[in-house]
């Protein structure tokens, strides 16, 4: 049977790959930023799963601290990216929109 560490590590890896794929393929800036957030979640999941010990083993706190730091860093980068994305849309007449915006027409 697959160990918990392995299961979550692989999930993290798949999340990373999913995010990377979307980052490359999608064209909407918000989607790209979402994708990079998914990627960082994947990396953090791998990191924390490294620290996990089955049973009552002692948990390694260093990866937890690293992930906390990483979350802060990714929030900062995300915030900057979002504001920048809005500015890009505002100043250059580039609507970086290939997907539709309407909430009600997404069924297509």
């Amino acid at each position: 049977m697959m160990s918990t560490n392995l299961l979550y590590s692989l999930t993290g890896l798949v999340l990373f790959a999913l995010g990377l794929y979307a980052l490359i393929v999608c064209s909407h800036l918000l989607r790209k930023i979402l994708a990079s957030n998914i990627m960082s979640s994947g990396v953090f999941l791998m990191l924390v799963s490294t620290a996990y010990r089955a049973g009552n083993g002692k948990i390694d706190p260093v990866p937890h601290a690293m992930v906390l730091t990483g979350i802060v860093v990714s929030v900062s980068a995300t915030a900057l990216a979002l504001v920048l994305a809005c500015r890009v849309q505002e100043t250059s007449n580039v609507t970086l929109v290939r997907e539709e915006y309407q909430h009600d027409t997404s069924g297509a």
């Binding site: 590590s9 990373f16 990377l20 980052l23 800036l29 790209k32 930023i33 990079s36 990627m39 960082s40 990396v43 791998m46 990191l47 490294t50 260093v62 990866p63 690293m66 730091t69 990483g70 860093v73 900062s76 980068a77 900057l80 990216a81 920048l84 994305a85 500015r87 890009v88 100043t91 250059s92 580039v94």
Partner: protein, 504 residues
């Protein structure tokens, strides 16, 4: 007990600009006055570090007094101090130039509010960037390196977008996404390393890292991440727009300094930490990409119509030389190639900053940077034109410039190790560089018949002389080559260790 440990100087290059950054954020008007002071203080602390290195040799500094596997270690040795010195020298020049640049623009009667705002945010951002760069060169902990790299890239992106032009903002968000991707790839590599070895300290990793499967994967991920940030040839697409569309002092910072940070790490990872895990094929791969960068960057630079884009593409090209060193290092012994790389980085930092500053000065004075219309700049910006030409000499690699020494070391390494083809690439690259440098210098220095100066702005010494001085330094670097090479040999072996304050 009040003991101020002499070793504590190692944190000063990080703490001084950091404190300056916060201070400039809090009090808006002090930036232009206090920034040169902060830059000088940082420079002095780097000189003291250099002196300590010469007197006592390389050191480790355990932050918080916690020994390596638990705490974070700072380390200074020859290469690190040389990179610090490079950053310091260029940084002081850029600080002075930026002061002249912003006061010139604020003095111009239009869009004063915008320029004041730009200056106000420039100082804290630049100081933060500088602190992070210094932290990057000194840190010896792979996760701490991730945090400092993020600091560097967020500050760099904010600076790149500072000009407010639409093109610069598109370039900035691209830059941000790419460098975020690079950081994540690096972090994934760190995760693999931690999974394999359970430690984060570079020196300890160096001792135990073998060719375990996790190590190779980690090295590959870290390399890809750092290559994205360094903008090696196929991954260079974000660099020219970001560097060319920024404000002139920012272009100088980005092109001269920021790309060197991730390159330095890359070199350190490959030749110190994981020298046991790398293969010849991978080294040659990097060399080939470097060769591609040299040729492609130079060809692109040759066909640009705008001066700043030309200079930015020449950065792509010059970065390639740094990667040519990789395949050579494997056969020729690390020291010589380290010398070439460090020389290349230092000379390029000074020369490229000088070039961007000169381009910025020209832009400020004539309002555009279309190369074909730059005729006769020499007539009213003689110092700037000369600075551009001298920096160009360095890019071409003519003696006695630092670029010449670097290329000489690369050439001799390539012929000694029977890999002459790298030498050929270096020479072809230099030829192409001379074409694109000459193309601009020609325009700057030719004064056609009946040429009259249309606009006469007041000349600003702070705009002209820092660029000239940096260009001159890059030129004279070659004459004083033995000195940096000696410092470089104070390498990473037999590092003396000192624990400040002892573990509590």
């Amino acid at each position: 007990m009040l003991i101020f440990d002499a070793d504590a100087w190692i944190i000063c290059p990080i703490v001084f600009p950091l404190a300056a950054s916060i201070f400039f954020f809090l009090s808006r008007r002090t930036g232009p006055v206090a920034a040169p002071v902060a830059a000088l203080a940082t420079g002095v602390s780097i000189i003291i570090l250099l002196r300590q290195l010469l007197l006592f040799g390389p050191r480790h500094y355990y932050i918080g007094g916690w020994q390596a596997p638990l705490g974070i270690t700072l380390r200074f040795d020859g290469p690190a101090v040389l990179m610090l010195a490079m950053t310091g020298l260029t940084g002081i020049g850029i600080t002075l130039y930026a002061r002249g640049y912003f006061s010139f623009r604020i003095a111009a009667p239009k869009r004063v509010g915008r320029h004041e705002r730009q200056e106000r945010f420039f100082w804290p951002l630049w100081m933060m960037l500088w602190a992070a760069m210094n932290g990057l060169f000194l840190s010896s902990d792979i996760f701490n390196l991730y945090v400092t790299m993020e600091l560097v890239s967020i500050a760099a992106v904010a600076l790149a977008a500072l000009s407010g032009k639409p093109a610069s903002q598109i370039a900035a968000i691209r830059y941000l996404l790419v460098s975020f991707l690079g950081s994540l790839s690096y972090l994934l590599g760190v995760v693999f390393l931690y999974k394999t070895y359970g430690i984060l300290d570079l020196d300890m990793l160096q001792d135990i890292a073998g060719a375990a499967p996790g190590t190779r994967v980690a090295l590959a991920l870290i390399t890809i991440g750092l290559l994205l940030k360094t903008a090696l040839f196929p991954m260079h697409f974000w660099l020219p727009p970001a560097h060319a569309n920024a404000l002139a002092p920012v272009s100088a910072i980005l092109s001269g300094l920021v790309v060197k940070g991730s390159f330095y790490l890359l070199f350190r990872f490959w030749f110190e930490v994981f020298s046991g895990a790398i293969s010849i094929g991978a080294l040659n791969m990097l060399g080939i990409l470097g060769a591609g960068a040299i040729l492609w960057g130079a060809l692109q630079a040759m066909r640009q119509q705008r001066l700043k884009l030309l200079v930015a593409y020449s950065t792509v090209s010059q970065l390639g030389y740094l990667f040519i060193a990789f395949p050579l290092a494997s056969l020729e012994g690390n020291m010589k190639v380290w010398g070439a790389v460090i020389f290349m980085a230092m000379a390029h930092a000074c020369a490229k900053s000088a070039m961007f500053m000169a381009a910025g000065t020209i832009y400020l004075h004539i309002g555009h940077d279309r190369i074909n219309e730059l005729v006769g700049i020499r007539a009213y910006l003689p110092v700037t034109a000369l600075a551009y030409a001298i920096a160009g000499v360095n890019l071409m690699g003519l003696p006695p410039s630092g670029g010449f020494i670097a290329k000489w070391l690369l050439l001799s390494a390539s012929f000694n190790s029977m890999q002459w083809w790298w030498g050929v690439v270096v020479m072809v690259g230099s030829l192409l560089a001379s074409v694109y440098v000459y193309r601009v210098v020609c325009q700057l220095f030719i004064i056609p018949e009946g040429y009259t100066i249309k606009k006469q702005y007041p000349r600003s010494h702070l705009l002209e002389w820092p660029a000239f001085t940096l260009a001159l330094i890059s030129l004279l670097l070659g004459l004083f080559a033995p000195y940096p090479l000696h410092i470089l040999t104070i390498g990473s072996s037999n590092v003396a260790t000192i624990i400040p304050g002892g573990p509590p």
